[in-house]
Symmetry: C2
Subunit: 342 residues, 2 copies
DNA sequence: TTTAGCACTCTCAATATCAGAGTGCTAAAA
DNA sequence: TTTTAGCACTCTGATATTGAGAGTGCTAAA
């Protein structure tokens, strides 16, 4: 158990290190923050914190740097959660409500705001149904045997696909089929639809097959866009000027399969509203050894959910990141809820 | 006018420099390529090329580095266009034809293949109608007064938007309205639609207004996604290890407004099938001073077109980049043509 | 016209030096 | 018992020095 003063000093060291990215020494700390104690006292406390594994010295006779353990303690126990300033929140909300009601646009905006506010790279995944349920189906003749199938799922997801029919079909007949199938399958999941095949035949049957295929695809986690922004923010950080570390981290964001793996293993079991903090890859992701992520889910629990978060250097400002992520997540949840109808 | 030998040496210098990223000296060149002449001869020729502005010396008594002018000469006159190996082309085609017929998926795949083949960052913009023409309109009730409007334009573009009506309307009535409006406006551009307002009233009128708004948005160049890939490829290049240069270049790709400006000023007046090469920003784009881009348009001329290309260091392999860009552009053109019906 | 020879230049890596910042310990002060 | 002043010691990072290596341009011979 740390004394109050030790907690205080740990906080200060972390704060100072986030600011300067350089090991922080006792004398410096006392001067910077006008502490009421001598550097020697600070040194003693620092020695204790070092023994406990919360700080470490890059070399004998250098200042102290927070360890990952130190950050975890800080984030878990010392960081008092703050909210974004009222003005900022209003400004951000305003931007969202000004946007056309277009999911795509929301995602982009969310990524952009996250990146700016947290001054880090940001990622946002589109809201994703727990199990896609059909809301509406449309078949649109393009030319000859080509047909564009547009599938709307509950929650507002849209999936399109170009089909080639065995023989040309009039638009009118296509519309009828679409209407019939919509009627029949509305509100059903892919699995439920699969069970009620056999009662169908001809064009309808083929269409239903395609619908199932599309909905299964929609169900798979790896579908859908990931919106990134602010990648250059993380490149600007001094610890990434060596660039090879930066590459590894950015590759994680670029390589969708890696990213999905990460998201599915961490954030999927989190609650809506809860913010998860991943410090230094938590030993599991080598690419993130130099990075931290702050992640949250948003959406309507059990219906559609998405993930969003930021990625920055370990010495990122967790306070700012967490409050931003939390706010944007709740904002997006509201937007989604509203678009579902309320 | 250069002698054949000078052209040959320029080519070799460029080749060697792309390979090693270090200034290339006469002796080294002779050894590497088993030239039938002495280093002194090569030195003399290099001196001529330097006088002509095609090579330069970073410092007295260092090897030679190609200037931008040198690259331009090379790309314009010396580079004999090659095609990707047959096997590679078949493999890539195969990947495309295996994909669901989903524009989104194609774009992603194109970006990915470009990045891999050219070993550079890639960008692909979705095909964009010269002037969007309405193909189909759908109105889908979500709940209460919320209505999802789905608008399909000729060329397969899909735009969605969430509307709030003044009062609840039944799905049935919405479908009727949608069908009516589709009937009326099919094949029309936003401008043409605007001219025929006044003949309408009630819900129809509102819907038409929204359609016009959406189609105008679709017309504006800045709409639509830009697909990026392989950003980490360019970070891996030694000239960007200093990272601040890399940041500037990547910012161009991230900041959509900058990117659109670039694309609109360069590639929009290019022909389909033509590949444009931008070397060192051509003096106009400061962010690209250290970079080159190889760009092309694809699509059906006069109907829908998109842009794609790669971004790499100035010393990228232009041969590989150009042949890849050309191939993918023609492939995407085929895909688009096919999806338009043929 | 080409090439061998040579003096000269410039970079880059390795090495040495040194001020500055920080530490831990001890002993005195509170 | 806790805090602090003092001090010897350590390590880094900036700066300067040096020397090998690579490359050049020029001249004169082939």
């Amino acid at each position: 158990m740390l004394t109050e003063r030790q907690k205080f000093i740990l906080t200060l060291v972390i704060h100072e290190y986030t600011r300067t990215a350089a090991p922080v020494g006792s004398k410096n700390l006392v001067e910077q923050y006008n502490l009421e104690m001598s550097p020697a006292t600070v040194r003693n406390e620092m020695a204790v914190l070092t023994d406990l594994g919360y700080l470490r010295q890059p070399h004998t006779s250098a200042g102290r740097v927070p360890t990952e353990e130190g950050y975890r303690y800080f984030v878990g126990r010392l960081l008092r959660e703050t909210e974004l300033p009222d003005a900022t929140r209003r400004m951000i909300s305003h931007q969202f409500y000004q946007t056309r009601h277009d999911i795509d646009e929301w995602m982009r905006l969310a990524a952009s705001v996250l990146a700016h506010q947290a001054r880090a790279a940001s990622l946002v995944t589109a809201p994703h149904p727990e199990r896609a349920r059909l809301k509406h189906l449309e078949l649109i003749s393009t030319r000859g045997r080509q047909v564009l199938m547009v599938l709307v799922t509950a929650g507002g997801g849209i999936h399109q696909r170009l089909l080639t029919l065995p023989e040309p079909v009039q638009q009118e007949q296509l519309s009828e089929t679409a209407a019939r199938v919509t009627q029949l399958l509305q509100g059903k999941t892919a699995d439920e639809v699969t069970q009620m095949r056999g009662q169908l035949h001809g064009l309808d049957e083929d269409v239903v097959d395609w619908v199932v295929e599309d909905m299964n695809q929609a169900d798979s986690l790896t579908s859908g866009e990931v919106y990134l922004d602010g990648l250059t923010n993380v490149l600007a950080e001094p610890e990434f000027s060596a660039s090879s570390e930066a590459r590894r981290a950015l590759r994680l964001l670029e390589e969708r399969s890696l990213l999905y793996d990460l998201l599915s293993r961490t954030v999927l079991n989190a609650n809506i509203g809860g913010v998860q903090v991943l410090i230094g890859g938590e030993g599991a992701w080598d690419e993130l050894r130099q990075c931290s992520m702050v992640l949250a889910r948003y959406g309507a629990p059990g219906v559609v959910t998405g993930t969003l978060g930021v990625l920055g250097p370990i010495r990122m400002s967790y306070g700012r990141a967490i409050s931003t992520v939390r706010f944007i997540a709740s904002l997006l949840s509201d937007m989604v809820a509203e678009s579902l109808g309320d």
